[in-house]
Symmetry: C2
Subunit: 259 residues, 2 copies
């Protein structure tokens, strides 16, 4: 099967121009079919505050009221997505920026209100796999932001890790998929303060143990839930790594997720 | 040749949700290949002011400094483009939003400084015609915002009328193109205060006469310059119309540009 690399970049990697440029330069060197998924970074919280909207987060997820949805649509789908696409184009990578609404590429459903009302937050329902395959066959590199739609005209704010995972799982039937979650740490760390404490291989039993011990906590838990879901659903390789882990053949391999 | 409709919507049509929805509903009913190009509306000036950036216009064109480029990229490529795409998707039109950076669809050059420094304003150099034809062949409807790039990583603010014209001219070799510039008036008016004074057919000699008399002035002049350039370059039909002129077979046909 043809190889496909899906790279998700997020966190502080998006907030620092120099680091983002390095990450994009490395990404552009990956041969063969590839897809980039980017999160939001701190810019949307900054813009919210400038507009007098105090950002509200619950368990690391943004509460998206109507005004916040406007902000994240502007920042994710506008500023970040087009900045990344223009840079990739300058690096010889034929990038095309997409929200889930574009070509109906990712259809989502407004998250039902249980204990918390997340507002215009979307849970992914389906991806338009054929559209994405057509783009890859045209040597285009899709660049997804974390905005989706519900098919009835409503845009929705969606977790970028989940988008990357859903794409990887959907395309695992047609490609030999490597899914990399890339952020500001070198991988999953045994000691958050020590960048050299990267766990090289993470098995489900270890994940359970580290969770119960509190070694792995907070935002790393949903990220690893996504990572294990991907490997369980047939994605060939799933890695959590830092910027140094993007380039093919890098020595900073990060954490490989094992079944 | 296959028919292709290119509709540019702008001005106050974009500022009023109800009118925009009517325009998009009519656009979605157009059969066959179609492309939408949208301008910016007043939202970007509003956002600029909220962020403490006073919008600067010279001869109807925005002076785009670095902060303003961020604003227009957020509003045009983010909020407006994705709102329009999501609405079209809900109307059964398989829209895909594009800036000029996406798939290198429109390459531009930063406008040289002569008497006025327009900042990050872009003049269109080339369009990636094959990409657009591929999309049309996949039954996708491209929705262009007025943001382009220079191929070296720089986004540029570009006039939406010019984008629509450039696309129409490039695709006139392959399609029987109708180009419609749709705005808040019913067409080119003999008396700006009278919506019933639409000039049905406008010849170059009439345009020259109306310009010298002052009947046609201000922003209508560059729009008509674009319109005549399109008809001269082989675009089959060029029309300036109001919202009522979008739907196929409408009685409000607006102003047809003649050679």
């Amino acid at each position: 099967m043809q190889k496909l690399t899906i790279l998700k970049i997020g966190g502080k990697l998006l907030d620092d121009d120099a680091r983002l440029n390095e990450a994009l330069a490395d990404f552009s060197k990956i041969e063969g079919a590839k897809i980039l998924v980017h999160g939001g970074g701190k810019k949307s919280s900054e813009l919210s505050r400038q507009l007098g909207i105090e950002p509200k987060m619950v368990e690391g997820r943004r509460i998206t009221d109507a005004a916040t949805l406007e902000v994240v649509t502007m920042v994710y789908a506008g500023l970040l997505n087009k900045t990344v696409v223009a840079r990739l184009q300058s690096l010889g990578c034929d990038a095309i920026g997409l929200s889930g609404a574009d070509g109906n590429s990712i259809l989502a459903k407004k998250r039902p209100v249980k204990t918390i009302d997340y507002g215009f937050a979307g849970d992914v329902e389906t991806t338009n796999k054929q559209l994405i395959i057509n783009f890859l066959n045209q040597n285009l590199t899709p660049v997804f932001c974390a905005i989706t739609h519900n098919g009835q005209g409503q845009l929705l704010n969606t977790n970028a890790d989940t988008i990357a995972t859903t794409l990887a799982v959907a395309l695992a039937q047609d490609f030999d998929v490597t899914l990399k979650f890339c952020f500001e740490k070198n991988g999953v760390l045994l000691d958050p303060a020590d960048e050299n404490s990267v766990i090289e291989r993470l098995l489900p039993a270890d994940f359970a143990k580290y969770k119960s011990q509190g070694t792995i906590s907070d935002g790393m838990i949903p990220k690893l839930d996504n990572a294990f879901a991907a490997i369980d659903a047939g994605v060939a390789e799933v890695v959590i790594c830092g910027r140094g882990g993007i380039a093919p053949g890098s020595f900073q391999k990060g954490t490989t997720i094992c079944r």
